[in-house]
Symmetry: C2
Subunit: 271 residues, 2 copies
């Protein structure tokens, strides 16, 4: 039987979701029905939500789980009367933090995903534009400006990783696809040589690469396992020969790839 | 004086950061020095981290705050001996959840940002590729496939929003820039007419738009406040005339814009 879960917030709900999902991931055996309710920022919305939670409780014949990052004490007070199992993040941690910091909470809503610092936010958006403008080796003249240059075979995950690095960390990441021609002369591609210190390599299992490529160009030489094996092997050889740090992306999400890159390179976030 | 904050995790650290930052945002008056330490997944790394925390404590002459999403009990046991103020997320909530769910936690590391469901993850990455392939009205033949078509003046925030919607929610969002020619005939642009139900409009304060455009093309007609005022006014007129739902992005982050769009349109996430 499904268990209903509410993620509620007076802001975007992203924090409640992140926290709730990391806890729920520990209970693989249970099937959860997830509902996110953002922007619960007045008493009417709070009362409406209480009714929704109570309805789910009576339909499911068990209490929904409620992950709550509502800042306002009054609104939280209303919600706490619902027939749910409350994981109340601000209620649990805010008061001890006030004591430890000898400071009062400002009880201001929706701070964590708002533009609290304009120049930091602009850096993130600039980094996204940088990633888009410097995608797939189309332009190499901005490599001086890049914090990082991701290299790898076509379809090894470079573009989504660059974009995530930009959005999450404000990192300006360009990417350069290593082509067959690049591999002929057994050297680092010329465009990359002046930027050796910024290069990070991605690799991927050839079978997985073939599957991904087949979605774009079915039954082509480009998408064949044989071709993918050849490219991956040569590229990994190059990484080792040129001592380029690299990772295998086969079973990793963009979030995991990006975090690993941050740790391995020692890059500092720009936000 | 700065207060040091550690976000620690045996996974990516993204959840610890999200939760920690949402709590810290309530203490605007205090300056925090943030350190994220992901992948603390063995006893050696845990001991090393304890030393780092203790060093910060003695340098700062006050306890660092430690936001901890470490799943493994043994590793968390080591960390808990550090001289820090612990906000221990799993330690606080996991046991009550086990009781409520009558189930044991699997104590498995790094679940929440891993690829737990391959097809969901693939949908997110497909959505990112869709956003990139259908950026800036270059191709309109895929609009049938789109979950959403974002429209607005050039540089009003469409592209980063489409990408965020894809990464976070797995939504396939295309975008269409409304040009001056589009505004001449006082109608919805032809390419959009068959997809009226999927359109969402962005608008932005003309002064802000002019600032953003000036970064790309300084001192051009395109970037003048006058031109931006004209375009924004006509576009908002069109939104109202055509009853297109829209929002002003001037002071909102991509996270906020995206969540508002999800709420307003009622779109369901694809992940």
């Amino acid at each position: 039987m499904k268990r209903t879960v509410f993620f509620i917030s007076d802001g975007t709900g992203l924090t409640a979701e992140a926290l709730g999902n990391s806890l729920l991931a520990q209970f693989e055996q249970i099937e959860f029905e997830r509902v996110t309710v953002p922007y619960v920022d007045d008493m009417d919305k709070a009362s409406e939500l209480v009714e929704r939670i109570n309805l789910a409780a009576s339909t499911d014949t068990q209490k929904p789980l409620v992950f709550d990052t509502i800042v306002n004490n009054d609104i939280r007070g209303v919600i706490s009367k619902a027939n749910g199992f409350m994981v109340d993040i601000f209620g649990t941690f805010l008061h001890p933090l006030e004591t430890e910091l000898s400071a009062s909470s400002s009880y201001t809503v929706g701070r964590s995903h708002a533009i609290s610092n304009e120049s930091n936010y602009e850096r993130r958006i600039h980094a996204v534009n940088f990633a888009l403008d410097n995608d797939d080796g189309a332009r190499i003249r901005h490599y001086n400006e890049a914090d990082l240059i991701l290299v790898g075979a076509s379809r090894s995950g470079k573009t989504p990783t660059c974009i995530y690095l930009a959005l999450q960390y404000g990192i300006k990441a360009a990417n350069y696809p290593i082509t067959e021609e690049d591999l002929l002369d057994q050297q680092l591609p010329e465009a990359l040589r002046p930027h050796r210190g910024k290069i990070f390599g991605l690799t991927i299992d050839p079978e997985r690469l073939a599957t991904i490529r087949n979605e774009r160009r079915p039954n082509s030489r480009y998408s064949s396992v044989k071709q993918c094996m050849h490219e991956v092997e040569e590229i990994e050889l190059m990484y080792r020969r040129e001592r380029i740090p690299y990772m295998n992306t086969t079973t990793s999400s963009v979030e995991e790839i990006s975090t690993r890159i941050m740790v391995t390179t020692g890059l500092k976030r720009n936000r």
